[in-house]
Symmetry: C2
Amino acid sequence: MRKLQIVQSKGARHEAIRRLLQAERIGTQEGLCRALAREGFRVTQATLSRDLQQLGAVRVGGLYELPPASPAAARLQEVGDLVVSFAENDLLVVLRTQPGAAPAVASAIDAARLPGCLGTLAGDDTIFATPVRGVAVRKLSRKLRNLFGRELS
Amino acid sequence: MRKLQIVQSKGARHEAIRRLLQAERIGTQEGLCRALAREGFRVTQATLSRDLQQLGAVRVGGLYELPPASPAAARLQEVGDLVVSFAENDLLVVLRTQPGAAPAVASAIDAARLPGCLGTLAGDDTIFATPVRGVAVRKLSRKLRNLFGRELS
DNA sequence: CGACGCATTGCATAAATATGCGACTTCATG
DNA sequence: CATGAAGTCGCATATTTATGCAATGCGTCG
């Protein structure tokens, strides 16, 4: 039997990685691994290899660098708190937001230009989002959840 | 005894690498190695590792990409043909150019902001270049030769 | 609750990249 | 011509990164 894994920390870990790469001169995944360990994240090099790819980090001159986080992504993080719940049917993903916040959130989603998102329509506290043909509503729903990086009903 | 090496091709090879990386999707140094071989460049992965570093290439998403060649470097290549000869004494590097071309060449050199180059002064077909304190005139001369990528008297 | 889909992770290892060292060339100099 | 400094390169290998696979956790749905 292999060691139990404590899944569940990717979001926070990615944030930490961003911070660390900017603050320190980190040149290897092993080094990043040690730095993260100091902050309480215990993961292996394999995981970091995947994380760095997902973050779009690039190794240049023996040092890891991050492409500036897209403004769109930053905005999504900001408005994430305004989202109250997710739901979906066969056709649409339906997001509920705090009163009046729907337009702001929908605009942030649009700006992010998700590959699978055909369009959004915002009311006052409700957003309809519809996937491009061929993408399952489920899939889009998951993507949106991940974007806001939170667990919702 | 090890195999004889046919030194002497870095400049052209670097050009070829630039071209190939832009034209094809190349994801490994081995792949680049094969592509170069098709063009007649026979070098090993080790050499390419060094070349790519020198070119500032970056591997992102499993593909090699080049940072856009600095305008300064491009300009240097352009004016390189106008340079006729190099010479040096204890104090200065002296470049001769085609008549009237000195200012253009000097300006390109200045724009390149060589770390070892304190300043240049251009006449009509003659340029004086002087190194920063601590850098040998010899050193600066070599750097300039390399920049123009040609063999001159 | 049980089954299923999917995401996350570690482990082991494959794949890829970087580098120490010596060979060789080219220039320039005594 | 001998000598020496600088630059380029291949080889062998060390270092670093990527990945196939299986285990586990989480959410959903019947």
